[in-house]
C-alpha cells in the first residue's frame, strides 16, 4: 500500500471543530463543532466535502456540537452531542431537515461525548456535564437507561472492546467508573485515577488497558483486569484533551492537549517523558484525533484553527532526534564529567566480528529500542601531566595543571625585592612546578632587565652590518650584533631609548652606529664593545627567530604526557639556554631545524634586536596560549620597566581581570587580592574598593549610624556605644563586639579581657567570644 502523504483542508470560515469521527470503512470523516457538522471524504491527496448538515436557517443550539460519533455498522448514521445537552442522531440518506433523525433533549447541561456500541448498532451512550450518562436505543425516542456518576460532570464514555456490556466513564473529579450497561443502579468499579479532571479515556484495542488523560498533564494507563492498577504514567507538557491508542503498536498512544500545546504527540508508554513522534502542523489547539482504521501510519486530526489534517507518519518529527543525548563539563581542576546515552546493543553481539554486522543492522532496530533510553555518567580525573622537580631532589614529581597554577600563584614573589632576585626565585618556582617555559621567560627577564646598571638601558643592542637603513624586508636575516654599555653611558642610552620603534629615529641611530668601522658615538664609551658576537643566523622570519630563541619549546602536551623525562631533556637540549645568554651574552645558536640555509653575501637589511618587542611578543604569546599567569606575573615584577613594552594598557587591564577571575575560580582569594593591589591599572585596583562599605547601627537604639562621623548616634546623642568597654575611649580602627549584648571595644583590649574572663566588661553578659 502506498503511503499517503500529509494533506489538509480548511473546513469553514469562522467556526471550529470540536470533534471528529470516521465511518466504518474510514473513507469519510465527520467534523462537528460550533455551528458546524460536515462530512468529508478522505482521498489519497486530500479531502472533499461530501455533505454540510448546517443548512439553511436551521440554526438552533443543537448544531453546536462537542462530539460526534459514527455508527460502527451503519454508514449513514451519525450522532452528535451538543453544547445545550441535546443528543442528535443523523441519517445521511435523508434530505434536508430530515437528516436530523432523532433529538434526545434529556441532559440538563452540556453533553460532552457520544459513542456507539461496537456490535449493537442501536445502542448509543452520552455523557454530560450534569453528571449523568444516558443510554439510548435508536428505535426508541427516549433514553433507556440513566447512570448517575455521582460527580458533577462526565467528560468521556467509551465502550470496552473486550466485554460487550461494559463501558468506562471518566469525570471531572478525577474518577474512572466501570459500568455494566444493564445495571444502572451502581457502577461495577470506581477508582480515583487523577488528582484533577479527567478529560478523556481510550480502551486499548487488544489489551485490557484503559488510558486516561487529565488536566494534571498526565496520561495514565490502567490495567483493568480485576482491580484496576496503574501500569504506566506519561508526563506531557500540557493538560491532555484526547488520547487514542495507535493501532498495531502495543505501546503507542497519541494525545493532544487542551491548552498551550498545539501539537499531537505519539508516546511510547514505556518511555513516559518524551514523545516518540510529534505532528506540529496545527496552529491552534487540536480538538480531535483519530487513527485511520487499522493503519498505524495515518492520523486524522481536527483543530480550532478550522482545519482538518491527514498526517502521514513519514512526515512526523521525532523530538528525540533533536535532543542532545550527551553532556560534558570540565572544571578548573581539569576533571571531566561525561554523560552519554548508552547505545542499546544487546550483549549477544559482543564478539568483535559481529559488531560490524550489528552496527549495520542497528538503524532499523533503533526505533524499537526507543524506550530503552539510559544514560551513563562518568567523572574522569586526569592523571598528573606535568613533570616537576620538587625542592632540591631531582626526583620528578607529577603534578596536575591546576596544582602548578595554584603553586605558582602562591609562591611567586612579585615585589619587594631586587628584580634579579625576584626573577631567580620565580624561575625556580616555575621550574619546580614544571613550567619550564615560564622559567625561561623569568630568566630571560633577569638577563634583560635584571642587572641594576642596565635598569635604564632601553636599547642595549642595535647594530648593523649595513648602512642601508631601510626597514624593508627585515625578515630575511642578517647578522646581529649587540652592544652593551657601561653604567657611565646610562644617561645617553636612556635618551636613545626613546628612538625605539620610531623609524626616523632609527635612521639616526643607525647612522652613528656604523659597526664595521666601529665608529661609535664618542659618548658610547663601550667597555665591552660586543657582547653579542656576530653570528649568522638563517631562518625564515623574525618570528621564527623569536620563537627559536625565546620560544621555550612548544609546550607539547602529547610529549609531556607520553615520555615526560625524555621530553624534558629534549626540551632543554633543543632550547637555547637563556642562562648562557645571560652570562656570556651570546646570541643563541641557530634553531635546531633551520628550514633551509640561506646565505646572503650582501646583507640588505637591518638587524632588529629589540628586547622590549621580543619581551612583549613573548608575553602576548604566553597569554595567547592560555598562560596568563606567567605573563601577568612578569609584568608586575617588571615594575617601571614595563612602560617600555609596546603593549597597550587595555590589554594589561584585560589580563588583570582574566587572571583575577582565574584565581577566583580556584578560590585563591588572597592571591587575587594581592594581584589586585599590585595593579597599576585603576579599574583593576578599584575592584578591591567595591562593596567594601559596612553599615553600622547604634548599639543602644539600633538606628543606623549615619552622618559624617560613624561613631556618633544622632538619636542617643552620644558616642557611648562606640566607646571601648575596657578603656572607655572611642574606638577608631578595629572594633570587636558581642552580638549578644552589643558591647565591645578595641580588638586588643577585648582580647586581653576575654583571655581569662567570659563575661562582658560592661554588663556581665556571658559573651563567650570564640
Amino acid at each position: 500500500m502506498a503511503q499517503s502523504s500529509t494533506t489538509w483542508i480548511r473546513i469553514c470560515q469562522d467556526g471550529h471543530a470540536n470533534g471528529l469521527a470516521l465511518n466504518r470503512d474510514c473513507t469519510q470523516i465527520a467534523v462537528a463543532g460550533r455551528s458546524l457538522l460536515k462530512i468529508f471524504s478522505i482521498e489519497y491527496d486530500g479531502f472533499t466535502e461530501v455533505c454540510n448538515m448546517r443548512g439553511g436557517k436551521n440554526q438552533n443550539l443543537s448544531y453546536s456540537s462537542n462530539d460526534v460519533a459514527w455508527s460502527t455498522l451503519d454508514h449513514n448514521i451519525l450522532a452528535t452531542a451538543a453544547t445545550n445537552g441535546v443528543v442528535s442522531v443523523w441519517d445521511l440518506s435523508k434530505f434536508g431537515r430530515q437528516k436530523q433523525l432523532l433529538v434526545y433533549n434529556e441532559h440538563e447541561r452540556t453533553a460532552h461525548t457520544v459513542t456507539f456500541h461496537s456490535s449493537e448498532p442501536n445502542l448509543l451512550l452520552s455523557g454530560s456535564q450534569d453528571g449523568t450518562i444516558k443510554c439510548f436505543d435508536l428505535r426508541l425516542d427516549k433514553s433507556v437507561n440513566t447512570y448517575f456518576s455521582n460527580s458533577e460532570s462526565v467528560r468521556d464514555v467509551k465502550f470496552s472492546p473486550h466485554s460487550t456490556n461494559t463501558f468506562a466513564a471518566v469525570s471531572e473529579n478525577g474518577t474512572v467508573q466501570l459500568w455494566d450497561i444493564r445495571k444502572s443502579d451502581k457502577c461495577t468499579l470506581q477508582f480515583t485515577a487523577h488528582s484533577e479532571p479527567i478529560y478523556t479515556c481510550d480502551w486499548h484495542p487488544n489489551k485490557n488497558w484503559l488510558a486516561t488523560g487529565s488536566r494534571d498533564k498526565q496520561i495514565k494507563v490502567w490495567n483493568m483486569e480485576g482491580k484496576a492498577s496503574s501500569e504506566y504514567t506519561i508526563h506531557t507538557i500540557a493538560a491532555v484533551g484526547r488520547v487514542k491508542w495507535r493501532p498495531d503498536r502495543l505501546h503507542h498512544i497519541a494525545s493532544c492537549a487542551v491548552v498551550v500545546d498545539y501539537s499531537i504527540h505519539i508516546w511510547d508508554i514505556r518511555r513516559p517523558f518524551i514523545p516518540f513522534a510529534s505532528f506540529n502542523e496545527h496552529t491552534n489547539i487540536t480538538t480531535g484525533i483519530a487513527w485511520k482504521g487499522s493503519d498505524p501510519h495515518v492520523l486524522l486530526s481536527a483543530s480550532k484553527d478550522s482545519t482538518i489534517f491527514k498526517h502521514a507518519f513519514k512526515d512526523a518529527t521525532y523530538p528525540v532526534l533533536k535532543a542532545n543525548p550527551q553532556g560534558a563539563s570540565l572544571n578548573c581542576k581539569g576533571e571531566l564529567l561525561y554523560a552519554y546515552k548508552i547505545k542499546p546493543v544487546t550483549m549477544t553481539q559482543s564478539t568483535s566480528r559481529n559488531n560490524l554486522m550489528s552496527q549495520k543492522s542497528k538503524a532499523p532496530v533503533e526505533k524499537d529500542q526507543f524506550h530503552l533510553a539510559q544514560s551513563q555518567l562518568y567523572a574522569f580525573t586526569m592523571h598528573p601531566l606535568n613533570t616537576a622537580y620538587g625542592g632540591d631532589s631531582n626526583k620528578p614529581i607529577m603534578l596536575k595543571d591546576f596544582e602548578c597554577f595554584i603553586g605558582c600563584a602562591k609562591e611567586y614573589i612579585l615585589n619587594g625585592k631586587k628584580l634579579s632576585d625576584i626573577c631567580e626565585h620565580n624561575a625556580s618556582i616555575s621550574k619546580k612546578y614544571g613550567k619550564h617555559s615560564a622559567a625561561i621567560l623569568w630568566n630571560y627577564m633577569k638577563a634583560i632587565y635584571g642587572s641594576l646598571h642596565l635598569k635604564t638601558n632601553k636599547i642595549d643592542a642595535r647594530t648593523t652590518l649595513s648602512s642601508q637603513s631601510h626597514l624593508i624586508n627585515n625578515r630575511r636575516l642578517t647578522q646581529v650584533q649587540n652592544t652593551r654599555d657601561n653604567a657611565e653611558n646610562q644617561k645617553n642610552e636612556g635618551e636613545e631609548s626613546d628612538l625605539e620603534g620610531n623609524p626616523n629615529d632609527d635612521l639616526k641611530l643607525l647612522d652613528f652606529l656604523s659597526p664595521k668601522s666601529g665608529q661609535q658615538k664618542p659618548c658610547f664609551n663601550v667597555a665591552e664593545p660586543l657582547i653579542f658576537e656576530k653570528s649568522q643566523i638563517t631562518f625564515e622570519n623574525v618570528k621564527c627567530l623569536r620563537d627559536g630563541f625565546l620560544y621555550v619549546g612548544p609546550h607539547d602536551f602529547t610529549k609531556d604526557w607520553s615520555i615526560p623525562e625524555t621530553a624534558l631533556h629534549n626540551l632543554q637540549a633543543a632550547r637555547p639556554q637563556p642562562e648562557i645568554s645571560a652570562e656570556q651574552r651570546q646570541e643563541p645558536s641557530p634553531p635546531p631545524d633551520p628550514p633551509s640555509t640561506l646565505k646572503i653575501n650582501v646583507v640588505p637589511t637591518i638587524p632588529m634586536w629589540e628586547p622590549h618587542r621580543v619581551m612583549a611578543d613573548c608575553l602576548t604569546l604566553q597569554a595567547d596560549v592560555g598562560d596568563i599567569q606567567t605573563s601577568l606575573s612578569i609584568l608586575i615584577a617588571m615594575n617601571e620597566s614595563r612602560s617600555n613594552l609596546p603593549i597597550e594598557d587595555v590589554v594589561y587591564e584585560n589580563w588583570f581581570h582574566s587572571y583575577v577571575e582565574q584565581l577566583h575560580n580556584h578560590q585563591l582569594w588572597n592571591e587575587a587580592t594581592r594581584i589586585i593591589n599590585l595593579s597599576w591599572i585603576r579599574s583593576a585596583r578599584e575592584v578591591n574598593q567595591q562593596s567594601t562599605t559596612v553599615h553600622t547601627n547604634c548599639g543602644e537604639c539600633g538606628r543606623p549610624l549615619v552622618g559624617s562621623v560613624g561613631w556618633y548616634c544622632g538619636k542617643c546623642k552620644s558616642a557611648e556605644t562606640s566607646k571601648c568597654s575596657v578603656c572607655h575611649l572611642v574606638v577608631r580602627g578595629l572594633y570587636a563586639w558581642c552580638q549578644g549584648c552589643s558591647h565591645g571595644g578595641h580588638l586588643e583590649h577585648m582580647k586581653q579581657w576575654f583571655a581569662n574572663r567570659k563575661n562582658c566588661p560592661k554588663c556581665g553578659h556571658l559573651c563567650e567570644y570564640e
Binding site: Y338, A379, P591
Partner: protein, 364 residues
C-alpha cells in the same frame, strides 16, 4: 591517563546536560525524566546527590549555573517551552531531617517561547545578571534581573530572531573592556541548503541592540553545541562548534575606533581546525577555565581532549571512553605526525599507543 569514577545518576531517562558550578565543586545534571539533580562531594570525595526535584513537565535540555556572586542559582530550559530559575535556600538552616527537595525553590518561570527551549546560559558576571535562551522557533531571548537580590523578576530585554531553529548558544567570555559582548548561536536545521548554521551576534551599547554580525558559512551541518572558550587574556576568541565535525574558530574582534565598543570593522573569523575524529556527530563541546583544553563528545561514546600548542595548532591529546560494558576503558591516542611539526623543532617524541604489558613487547 585517567581515573574514572562511574556515577550512578539514577535518572530514569537520558541525561542531556551535566555542568560544574563556577568553582568546579558541585555539579548538576538534568534529564528527560524532568528532574534536576544537584551533586556534592561527600567526605570520601564521591559524588552524592544533595538535591533532586521535578523541575519541568517536559524533557530538560540544559542547565546553567549563575556566578556564585548571585547565589546558588541554576537556570533550566525544557521541552515544555519554559525556562525556570532555581535558587538554593541557604538562609534556612538545613537540618538532616529536612527533605532535600525543599532546598531549591523556583524563583521564576519564563514562558515567552512558543516552542521547546533548547538552551539557556547565564551571561558572564561582568555583564550583570543576564540570561540568554535559545528556542526551536529560532528566537534568542535575553532576560535581565535588574535587582540581583530579587530573582523572581526578570524582564525580557531583547528578542533576536533567526530564521532557523536554534539548538545552542554561547556568550563570549571576554573581559576586554573594548570588546562588545558577543553571542554565538547554532542551528540544528538538518538541510544543508539553508546555509551557515552558526550565527554571531554583537551587542551595540549605543544602539542598545543585538545585531547579527556574521553567519559562519563554513558550518552547514546541523550544530549541536557551541562554546566560547574563556578568553583568559587572549587577544582573540576561540569558538568550538559541535556539528558533524568539530570546528574550532578563532575570532578576532577588531578594536573599535575611538575606544567606543561596537563601532569597529568587522569580525575576523578564521577557521583554526576541523576534526572528523569522532567519525560521527559531535554532541558536546566544553572548555577548561584557561581555554587551553577542549573536550568534545561524540556519538561514538567517547570524549576527546584537545589542546593547543604554542603554534596555536590544535591536537587531540587523549580519548576517554565509557564502553558498553559500563566499565570504562581509557585509551591514549598519540597525536598524529602532523605537518605542523616542521615548524616546531622541539617536538621529537611521539607515543604510538599504550603498552598494557611492557614485558610482552618484543624487542627489535
Amino acid at each position: 591517563m585517567f581515573d574514572t569514577e562511574t556515577i550512578r545518576a539514577d535518572h530514569k531517562d537520558v541525561i542531556h546536560d551535566v555542568n560544574y558550578d563556577y568553582y568546579g565543586k558541585r555539579m548538576a545534571t538534568c534529564s528527560s525524566d524532568q528532574t534536576v539533580k544537584v551533586w556534592d562531594k561527600d567526605e570520601n570525595n564521591k559524588w552524592v546527590v544533595s538535591s533532586s526535584w521535578k523541575a519541568h513537565s517536559g524533557s530538560i535540555w540544559r542547565l546553567s549555573w549563575a556566578h556564585p556572586e548571585f547565589g546558588q542559582v541554576i537556570a533550566t530550559c525544557s521541552f515544555d517551552r519554559t525556562v525556570s530559575v532555581w535558587e538554593e535556600n541557604l538562609g534556612d538552616k538545613v537540618t538532616p531531617t529536612m527533605a532535600p527537595m525543599k532546598r531549591w525553590t523556583r524563583r521564576t518561570t519564563l514562558v515567552d517561547s512558543r516552542t521547546s527551549v533548547t538552551d539557556v546560559k547565564f551571561a558572564p558576571k561582568h555583564l550583570g545578571l543576564l540570561l540568554a535562551t535559545a528556542s526551536a522557533d529560532g528566537i534568542i531571548r535575553i532576560y535581565e534581573a535588574p535587582d540581583i537580590m530579587n530573582l523572581s523578576q526578570w524582564s525580557l530585554q531583547h528578542e533576536i530572531s533567526c530564521k532557523l531553529p536554534l539548538s545552542c548558544l554561547s556568550w563570549s567570555k571576554s573581559l576586554f573592556r573594548l570588546h562588545a559582548p558577543l553571542i554565538a548561536a547554532g542551528s540544528d536545521e538538518s538541510s544543508p541548503t539553508s546555509g551557515g548554521k552558526v550565527f554571531i551576534f554583537e551587542y551595540s551599547e549605543n544602539a542598545r541592540k543585538w545585531t547579527k554580525v556574521e553567519t559562519v558559512s563554513a558550518v552547514v551541518e546541523p550544530v549541536h553545541d557551541i562554546a566560547f572558550a574563556p578568553t583568559a587574556g587572549r587577544s582573540y576568541h576561540i569558538l568550538a562548534i559541535a556539528s558533524k565535525d568539530l570546528h574550532i574558530l578563532h575570532l578576532k574582534q577588531p578594536l573599535p575606533v575611538g575606544n567606543e565598543p561596537g563601532t569597529g570593522p568587522r569580525l575576523e573569523i578564521q577557521s583554526s581546525a576541523q576534526f572528523t575524529d569522532h567519525y560521527c556527530h559531535v554532541w558536546r563541546v566544553c572548555w577548561n577555565i584557561t581555554g587551553t583544553m577542549l573536550a568534545s563528545t561524540g556519538d561514538d561514546g567517547s570524549a576527546r581532549i584537545w589542546k593547543m600548542n604554542y603554534m596555536k595548532n590544535w591536537k587531540c591529546a587523549a580519548v576517554v571512553k565509557g564502553d558498553g560494558n559500563q566499565s570504562p576503558t581509557e585509551t591514549f591516542l598519540q597525536s598524529q605526525q602532523s605537518s605542523m611539526n616542521v615548524s616546531t623543532p622541539t617536538t621529537k617524541y611521539y607515543k604510538k599507543g599504550t603498552i598494557a604489558n611492557p614485558s610482552q613487547v618484543p624487542w627489535h
